[in-house]
């Protein structure tokens, strides 16, 4: 295992460690972060990102320690290094951008005192030259992302929070969002996403700065334009680097031209957002692939490559292409029925899986209540953890789901999600792994119900399948498009029992319940969080209770 440490114990340093850990893990290195270094306050999205790496070092065998941000090594970091009692076989690398010789000597010496032997030293100022972001802690190395399948060009715009102060910003973005040649995505810091979602431009696809890892953003984007005064922080710089390395286009629209000034192979774009649509349309789109190819050849990019960093660190990548899967498994179909008890979703998914025919080899990931049903039908099932009031945080179970799903799923796999609300775990794993995702979404929307949150993540899915319901009012759907497919009710057709068998079953029920059973009515109107059907069930129960010989079975 490789432990990533940082010179200082700050939130910024922790995020930088996370960037390095994510990047090295994608290269096939096994990486951990000391859970004692986790900041007190971690953003919700960051929790998902960090969950895969945090570890109690007591149970971990370290073979290497990489200390980033070594320009300043704090006492508590030295204390932690000393406390690790590293064996002589554990390589230790000190990484920093050292302003002068003394800084490098001091960094090396401090770590040497703490661990009792000499560490290796990697001076990023020598390896890479000046950083794109002043005082950057992470090495900011460019890693390639997988070649995406043919798709509508994805344009990302990275904006500072202040951009929303301009009343023209959102109307201009909405106008761009309706251009047919590309799909627009916006990345905003802080509360920017909530601000947009609360406006009448809520239809825009918006991400928070830290909602996904830079590599995941780079996987999604074909073109990205960066606005603001200067390079907008380490995460966005890392996103731009991966983008360039992957042969996509980065456009520097910053007021200071920070990317260009740093030497990065980017295009100089307009500083005005309103001018971007034409720039993208007439300058970039027509030459997109060639621009990307030229950027990839940049010597600057070579010095900033993750391979150069690995070499400097003496690391041997275990994958040569970013999208190389572990093993040689072919792409699989994984069903994920969800919500509440989930038997309705699970039953539907098993019906579909059974209909997929030989060779499909579908598997499941499901909550405990559904697992027996799925196993009974002969499918493998990855158990997920049910939400519980005993958990410290309301999304604690979803963090576990995320960890399990990301471990099981690989790029190119199909994920079929059946449920009403797309959890963070599902949203992230689809985007991070580039999954071919299908959303089976039974309506059950109530009149007047706010669907913004439920539908916000629809863009994550390649297709939406809307199974019909028996009652017309349950078939209303709020989204349209060629990706939405309405189908009839998905039901299991069983052979009708003959008269003798029906009579025998009635008799058996009657004997069991001590009453005459002439007919059986089954009510199953569960709607999970999407709909409360208590009133309807009570009405049905009241009416059916008046019918003699009627057994009313309510499934909840």
């Amino acid at each position: 295992m490789i432990l990533i440490e940082a010179g200082e114990r700050t939130d910024k340093a922790f995020d930088a460690k996370l960037l390095v850990a994510t990047q090295l893990a994608a290269r096939g290195h096994r990486v951990v972060l000391d859970d004692r270094t986790r900041p007190e306050k971690v953003e919700r999205y960051q929790k998902y990102e960090v969950a895969a790496f945090l570890a109690d070092l007591g149970g971990v065998t370290l073979r290497r320690v990489i200390l980033i941000g070594a320009e300043s090594v704090a006492q508590d970091t030295m204390m932690a290094l000393r406390g690790l009692r590293l064996g002589a076989d554990v390589a230790v690398s000190v990484v920093g951008r050292f302003a002068d010789r003394q800084s490098a000597i001091a960094a090396r010496a401090k770590v040497a005192y703490a661990i009792g032997r000499e560490p290796d030293l990697v001076d990023l100022a020598t390896l890479q030259g000046p950083p794109l972001v002043a005082n950057a802690i992470s090495p900011l190395a460019a890693a390639p992302t997988p070649v995406p399948p043919e798709r509508l060009t994805q344009v990302f715009i990275v904006l500072p929070q202040e951009a929303l102060d301009d009343p023209q910003t959102l109307p201009v973005l909405s106008a761009m969002d309706n251009l047919p040649d590309y799909r627009l995505n916006v990345i905003l810091p802080g509360k920017g996403k909530e601000q947009v979602k609360a406006s009448r431009h809520a239809g825009l696809t918006v991400f928070g700065y830290s909602e996904l890892s830079p590599a995941a953003f780079a996987r999604l984007a074909d073109i990205a334009a960066f606005f603001g005064d200067s390079v907008p922080g380490e995460r966005m710089a890392a996103f731009a680097l991966d983008l360039m390395r992957s042969g996509r286009v980065a456009i520097d629209c910053t007021a200071s031209g920070g990317f260009l000034a740093g030497g990065a192979p980017v295009l100089r774009g307009p500083e005005e957002i309103a001018a971007l649509a034409n720039y993208v349309q007439h300058t970039v789109l027509v030459n997109r692939r060639e621009i990307g190819r030229q950027a990839q050849k940049s010597p600057w990019l070579a010095t900033h490559s993750v391979e150069a960093l690995e070499q400097a660190l003496g690391l041997e990548a275990t994958v040569t292409a970013a999208d190389a899967p572990e093993g040689t498994a072919a792409s699989r179909s994984v069903f994920l029925p969800t919500n509440g008890v989930g038997l309705g979703h699970a039953r539907r998914c098993t019906l579909i899986a059974e209909a997929m025919g030989p060779g499909a080899d579908p598997a499941f990931a499901a909550f405990p209540s559904c697992v027996p049903l799925i196993l009974d039908r002969g499918f493998d099932c990855l158990p997920l953890v049910q939400k519980s009031p005993d958990h410290v945080e309301d999304h604690a179970n979803d963090l576990l789901s995320y960890l399990r799903l990301r471990r099981v799923l690989r790029s190119g796999d199909r994920l079929i999600f059946d449920g009403g609300f797309v959890f963070d775990s599902i949203h992230r794993v689809i985007l991070e792994h580039g999954l071919d995702a299908t959303w089976i979404r039974r309506g059950l929307w109530q009149a007047g119900q706010t669907l913004a949150t439920a539908l916000d993540r629809e863009h994550t899915f390649a297709r939406v399948i809307v199974p019909g319901e028996a009652f017309a009012e349950l078939n209303s759907d709020r989204s349209t498009g060629t990706h939405v497919h309405a189908v009839g009710p998905i039901v299991q057709r069983l052979p009708q029992p003959d008269g003798a068998e029906r009579a025998a079953r009635r008799a058996a029920l009657g004997q069991m319940l001590g009453r005459e059973v002439g007919e059986l009515v089954v009510t199953m109107l569960g709607g999970g969080v999407a709909a409360d059907r208590t009133a309807q069930m009570q009405a049905l129960a009241t009416q059916l209770d008046l019918r003699p010989g009627c057994l009313h079975l309510i499934v909840v």
Binding site: R85, R101, Q102, A106, A109, Y113, G116
Partner: protein
């Protein structure tokens, strides 16, 4: 020149620990000979710190009014103590005009293993650019310190116009000698500044201060207090205990440092010897004290202590011999060496 002439000291008086104690002793020793001027430098290295107590006391006792951050330092001989205070500076920050500049190298130029201990080239270059002198000398303070200076010079090259004084500019250890106990017990201790470099790895520290020892007293243990010291250690922060009281609690001083760092002189060991203790350290550090300090590995400490406890007479003999050897670092010895610098027949001064 037949006498020392005008002598000016140039130093940052806020150095903690041994350096300031050594310079304070030196000033007390040579003040009667030459009435030195003292130029104090407020370097970035010690921004926000007060002058070290031993130096402040020496200034007061000798009636020295130190001059802070003068633009020009002019004297026949300028003695610059510990050039490492310049390691965070962009320049020297002053002009030095003199016949002979002596730079006393309190810090080793190289660490064990050969890594540079600080940016020596940068510091000497800053001095060079601000100095007009007939001669510029480096003055190592011990045999080991001299070896690191020589090794550094061999690797990076001594700047043109610089030489290395032939005799060590040793730390004066004119300490009151306390007679050894005639009933030594397995009472161990160590004292130092609290820096990480001053402490061996936790495993070695455990060997030096085991639970079966009658006492384990560690002064300057801020680091160990923070990481949670075992119950059988009595730990005190830096300056958290009077030295006399600390020495009263121990019979053996067991002093190991991080393997990546070594004392340049080891004044702390001399203090232990003077206090009547048997002092045990790593072999390289012990070498500077002849046989006065026992060189050992941490796993050998137990056996060494047991043998001395079993043979009190040997304990006393060893301490007395070690104390006698400290005479080589006496004020008289330094005075003679200092005067010799300016003797036209034997001296090396310009």
């Amino acid at each position: 020149m037949t006498g020392p002439g005008r002598i000016a000291y140039l130093l940052d008086p806020r150095f903690p620990g041994g350096t300031s104690s050594a310079v304070a002793e030196e000033l007390r020793t040579i003040a009667p000979l030459c009435q030195p001027a003292v130029h104090a430098v407020s370097s970035r290295m010690f921004a926000g710190h007060d002058p070290a107590p031993p130096l402040a006391a020496a200034f007061e006792a000798l009636g020295i009014e130190s001059v802070w951050d003068a633009d020009t330092v002019s004297a026949d001989t300028v003695i610059l103590h510990n050039p490492s205070f310049l390691k965070f500076e962009s320049g020297f920050g002053r002009r030095v005009l003199c016949r002979h500049l002596i730079v006393v190298t309190h810090e080793n130029f190289l660490r064990p293993g050969g890594e540079e201990a600080f940016d020596v080239t940068g510091c000497l270059d800053r001095i060079d650019r601000g100095t007009l002198a007939l001669r510029k000398s480096l003055a190592p303070i011990s045999a080991h310190n001299r070896a690191t200076v020589a090794a550094w010079g061999g690797r990076f090259g001594l700047p043109p116009g610089w030489d290395v004084l032939q005799e060590d500019w040793f730390n004066i250890c004119d300490l009151p000698m306390i007679a050894p106990t005639d009933t030594p017990r397995d009472r161990r201790g160590r004292h130092s500044r609290p820096g990480f470099e001053k402490f061996p790895p936790p495993g070695d520290l455990g060997l030096c201060f085991p639970s079966h020892a009658e006492a384990n007293v560690i002064l300057g243990a801020d680091l160990l207090i923070a990481e949670g010291a075992p119950a059988h250690w009595q730990v005190y922060p830096f300056r958290g205990l009077e030295l006399a009281r600390y020495f009263g609690m121990i019979d053996f001083m067991v002093y190991f440092t991080a393997p990546t760092w070594q004392e340049s002189f080891g004044r702390v060991l001399a203090e232990g010897i003077a206090a009547g203790k048997v002092v045990i350290s790593d072999k390289a550090t012990a070498a500077g004290f002849g046989g006065g300090v026992i060189g050992a590995r941490p796993e050998e400490v137990d056996g060494i202590i047991r043998a001395f406890v079993d043979d009190p007479a040997r304990f006393a003999r060893h301490v007395r011999a070690a104390q006698a050897a400290l005479a080589a670092f006496s004020a008289d010895a330094f005075r003679a060496r200092f005067a010799g610098l300016f003797d036209p027949r034997t001296g090396a001064a310009a």
